[in-house]
Amino acid sequence: METELLYALRDPAGIPSHPVIFLVLGVLTFALHIAAVQMMLGASTLTLWGAFSKDAHRRRLAQSMINVAKVMVSVAIVLGVAPLLFVQVIYDPFWYTANVLSAWWVIGFILILLVGYTLMYVFYWRNHHLADPARKLSCPGAMVASVVLLLVVGFIMHVLAQQMLQPEHWMSWYAPHGDLETRGTALHAFHPWRFLFFISLSAPVTGALLVAYQRYFRARDDVEPNYLDWVRDLAYRLINLGGVVSLVLGAVWMATLPEAVAGFAFSPWVWVAAAGLLGFVGFAHWVRGKGDSPWAYAVLGVGTVAIILVAVAREALRWAKLHGVHGYNALDYSINMDWYSTLTFFVTFGVLGVGVLAYYLTVAWRAGQTRGVYTASAVVDRMGNIAIAMLVLWIVHYFVLGFVWWAL
């Protein structure tokens, strides 16, 4: 499709801030979203791996992982909202077209996710004693089906991302024989190696999560050290093996890029992403050598940085295709600057959001490490009061500004 046509599809209202802000936020929030997806898939797989075993450690891990998995589905959905929002802002011609061309699957995505998530809960409800190897497993098919369906929704998203990148095929998909095909029942483009690469990252990312998990529960005297040692060994095996598999799959993905962007495989973006993944594996090994130390939590942090670097490379590939091949520059979107809404977001995100979540997570963290009832310290209490004050202030500002503006 010609560049002129792509530009014609842009929204005439423009955007309320510089496009680079949306680009950066899109990459960062996508990285967090995909990390949550990978933890969800990893935790679900470990649930199955443990549930089908009679081994006490594996069953105990399965009990923990089903809890992690169901929370991670929530987290993945919540975090997924942000990149879904930002992609529509600067890549609207591509995102909307890709969606409409497979509309049936886009609607299917909602239903499949709903069923997949519900089945996970069904398995959870039917197996409250999962940790006990003597108890018979109930409804294991629900969990297997849940994992399969979650992979299907991941695949649908992958297809939409691929279709975005191929404007040259849009008309042939939409009007294959000169007549409009408007049912949207087909999935037109996919790249198996790219999909497998992102799925395979579930192993090292979940490994990083397990490193933090085993460290966290060492503070509790009701959790056996034997079990935690076993989890630690499993975590590093996942990081090692998963890291290698991911790098291989990533290399195959790069080797099979379309001819128009084949040179991207040798770009610095790819090397930086690969170095990030290797650095993450190396860092994990360094931390392992330090024994039981708080550095274990840093493995999760470094893993997140590695995923961000992968997300940056993914964005660079999109840029190479859409700008390099099709002439679409996401950064020349016309701007209708709106300072108020821009500042409102950054203050809400950076001050209120960070403050409130810091309080919530502090309480959750300490309560989890306390046997019996956790009593908050004066500092934590103050954090809570500040969090409430900020929320009240935000709501008051909404009404005061609104009434004044309305009355003017």
């Binding site: 005439p12 930002f86 409409v100 998530y117 908050a376």
Partner: protein, 473 residues
């Protein structure tokens, strides 16, 4: 030549894309309103529980919270994203208009949404595991963050109907688009009815409590919540309708059936009777009764409300400038937006639509029906089915006529003038109107395109004859 940035069309033949959006949106409204109302109700109950030393109330908070985790937060968050997805495929330029004006507001809502989701897990799972004051703080934060999500989305929903202030068209700006009389009226009305939904859905959980005293106490509290919110919401509904623009009232009079307002009052009356009955006789409330009430409020309360909200903003789908068929039908100088109608009037839809195959950009005898189908799918199918099923089938508007000339005259009178109240102005060149007429006639008689092609060929042959004869001579 300037192009019109129309996307491909998704046509759902069974029920219509509009109904797909409507179904998902209605379910989401039930989930989201219930959860916001419940969050505030939890804060109220937790305050009573800790101040009056009634820890048994926390049992209900935990049970209702767990129920909402699946019922509202799982399904609610998925259907929330689902509204974006369904509107993306059904009305891409409609959702794009909202996204591009309110991206930061949606991003701000997302911050509160993250707090809300973390909060519901903490409220539920930390009952009895943290000290009372901490749990109370957690619950109030959850309530405030939940309500903040509602504050934001109401402004966007209100803009979708009509921008907050008329000044937005001339000056643009987020505040002009977001705040207006309809914003606050809609917020007040929805705030009241969200408690009604909380009370109805809460009955499912309360009726399952085994402690009879607690069960009675909670059911009565829910009943009072329901009675007060239903009466308040009904009163606020009048305020809400008084803030609607004049054309919305005209569309309501013309499009909504006479029994609509009567049935709406009947539904509200029924809800009131339900709450009064459960207040007087709490034991009458069983999980089955509460579930039936929940489904009833979805089918007889929310669905008609969503359908009415959809109808009264016609012919527009967003901000009174994006038509339901995705064409921009009005200048918005404050945002640098120009109506696309003059471009289509000058060059025709076929020449300016981005997504049309080249062979359909010129009308001839052979392709007239195919071109007409493309025009119908692009300009009509969002609101009118091109098959027998789905919303307002096109063929029903022709009274069985198959005369192409007559249909063409009708189309030019009804569409190109913009005189039909709830219909967009749809410019059509003479060729385009004829192609659309051929296609519409074919919906009642599939032989029309072949006959039309033969007629056109015969006319062309007759036109060519003198020339070919003279050449031979």
């Amino acid at each position: 030549m300037e192009l019109i940035g129309l996307y491909p069309t998704w046509y759902e033949p069974t029920i219509g894309s509009g109904w797909v959006v409507g179904l998902i949106a209605t379910i989401h409204v039930l989930f989201s309103h219930t959860s916001v109302g419940a969050a505030i109700f939890f804060a109220f109950l937790a305050t009573i529980a800790y101040r009056r030393n009634k820890p048994e109330l926390l049992i209900f908070i935990k049970r209702y919270g767990l129920f909402l985790l699946v019922f509202a937060y799982v399904a609610g968050s998925i259907t929330g994203v689902g509204i974006w997805y369904s509107t993306t495929v059904a009305s891409p330029r409609g959702i794009s208009a909202l996204i591009h004006s309110f991206v930061w507001k949606w991003a701000t809502e997302w911050v509160f949404f993250v707090i809300e989701v973390v909060g519901v897990y903490m409220v539920v799972y930390l009952v009895g595991k943290v000290d009372q004051r901490t749990h109370l703080r957690i619950t109030w934060i959850f309530a405030l963050a939940s309500y903040a999500t509602m504050l934001i989305i109401i402004g966007i929903l209100s803009f979708m109907l009509w921008p907050g202030k008329e000044a937005w068209f001339a000056e643009g700006g987020y505040l002009n688009g977001f705040y207006g009389s309809n914003t606050f009226a809609q917020l007040a009305m929805r705030s009241a009815f969200m408690f009604t939904m909380t009370a109805v859905v809460g009955g499912i959980v309360a009726s399952r409590l085994t402690d009879l005293d607690l069960r009675r106490e909670i059911i009565r509290k829910l009943a009072w919540l329901g009675i007060v919110s239903t009466i308040t919401g009904t009163a606020l509904f009048s305020w809400y309708t008084s803030t609607l623009p004049e054309h919305a009232h005209l569309v309501m009079q013309a499009r909504l059936p006479d029994w609509f307002s009567v049935s709406l009052l009947a539904v509200l009356g029924g809800i009131l009777v339900y709450f009064i009955a459960s207040l007087i006789q709490p034991r009458l409330l069983t999980p089955v009764v509460a579930s039936i009430a929940t489904v009833s409020i979805l089918v007889f309360g929310l669905w008609p409300e969503e359908v009415a909200r959809e109808s009264i903003r016609k012919p527009f789908v967003a901000g009174e400038y994006v038509y339901s068929n995705q064409v921009i039908g009005r200048d918005v100088p404050g945002m640098g937006i120009r109506s696309e109608i003059p471009v289509i009037q000058e060059h025709g839809l076929l020449k300016t639509h981005v997504f049309l195959p080249e062979e359909l950009r010129e009308v001839n005898g052979e392709n007239a029906a195919r071109v007409g189908r493309a025009i119908a799918l692009s300009m009509c199918a969002n609101c009118h089915s091109v098959t027998d099923t789905g919303m307002r089938p096109l063929r029903n508007y022709l009274g069985g006529h198959t005369d192409v000339a007559r249909i063409k005259t009708y189309l030019k009178g009804a569409l190109t003038t913009g005189n039909t109240l709830y219909m967009p102005l749809i410019p059509l060149t003479d060729d385009e109107a004829e192609a659309l007429a051929v296609y519409m006639a074919s919906l009642n008689d599939p032989q029309v395109p072949a006959r039309y092609a033969a007629q056109r060929a015969a006319i062309a042959q007759a036109d060519d004859l003198p020339a070919s004869v003279s050449m031979k001579e």
